[in-house]
């Protein structure tokens, strides 16, 4: 069974701080996605990474795919209250996604 573990499970920080969320697996994935979900909404795709070692930047968010394509990280620089939400990684090898356990981020003003 493929599993994706995220850490930390919860993160509570002040505006302006930096943070990193980790997504780890013992399985290799052909691609990995990050989603953000706000209360009462469905997850929204942030980024897809497909190449080992790949780094993608989306404004203040930096996503990295591990060299072996088993892990990924999301780094947020100078967090804002609008970054608050549930962050989910999801790996794909077939037509189905395997979702991580989630990281709930709360950014306080």
């Amino acid at each position: 069974t493929q599993l994706l573990e995220q850490s930390p499970q919860f993160l509570s920080i002040q505006e302006g701080e930096n943070l990193t969320v980790y997504c780890n697996s013992s399985s290799v994935f052909s691609s990995l996605q990050w989603y953000r979900q706000e209360p009462g909404e469905g997850p929204v795709l942030l980024v897809t990474v497909v190449t080992g070692g790949e780094v993608k930047k989306l404004k203040r968010l930096t996503f990295q795919f591990g060299d072996a394509r088993k892990d990924s990280s999301l780094h947020i620089t100078a967090a804002q209250t609008g970054d608050t939400g549930l962050y989910l990684c999801a790996g794909s090898n077939t037509d189905k996604l395997i979702f991580g356990t989630g990281t709930r981020l709360q950014v306080f003003p």
């Binding site: 994706l4 995220q6 052909s30 691609s31 996605q33 989603y35 009462g40 909404e41 469905g42 997850p43 929204v44 795709l45 897809t48 497909v50 549930l86 989910l88 999801a90 794909s92 077939t94 037509d95 189905k96 996604l97 395997i98 979702f99 991580g100 356990t101 989630g102 709930r104």
Partner: protein
């Protein structure tokens, strides 16, 4: 519409009753997925439809759960004889042919509460 829609947004039912949840995918999307999410956790895969192929039902937790997709568009997830452990948010997602990496677009979900 522009996005995936789901109805109802909230459903409260009594234990033992049947419920039907509806999903309208993005027009033209051939793939449709149902997931279950408990207490803001990660998503649990339930069932996957792709075009006219037989659905992948490998994630359905019991035979009380079933789903249909009519005309390659709208889908209905049915839960028979609901139990309290069925309480969760049920999310639907669709994916278009152009997606190379299984990028999915989600609806807002149906929050099911079984009393």
């Amino acid at each position: 519409g522009a996005g995936v829609s789901q109805s109802p947004s909230n459903k409260v039912t009594e234990k033992g009753k049947d419920v039907e949840l509806r999903c309208d995918p993005i027009s033209g999307h051939t793939a449709l997925y149902w997931y279950r999410q408990s207490l803001g956790q990660g998503l649990e895969f339930l069932i996957y439809f792709q075009g006219n192929s037989a659905p992948d039902k490998s994630g359905l937790p019991s035979d009380r759960f079933s789903a249909e997709r009519t005309g390659g568009s709208v889908s209905t997830l049915t839960i028979q004889r609901t139990q309290q452990e069925d309480s969760a948010v049920y999310l639907c997602a669709s994916r278009g042919r152009a997606s190379s990496y299984n990028e999915q677009f989600f609806g807002p979900g149906t929050r099911l509460t079984v009393l």
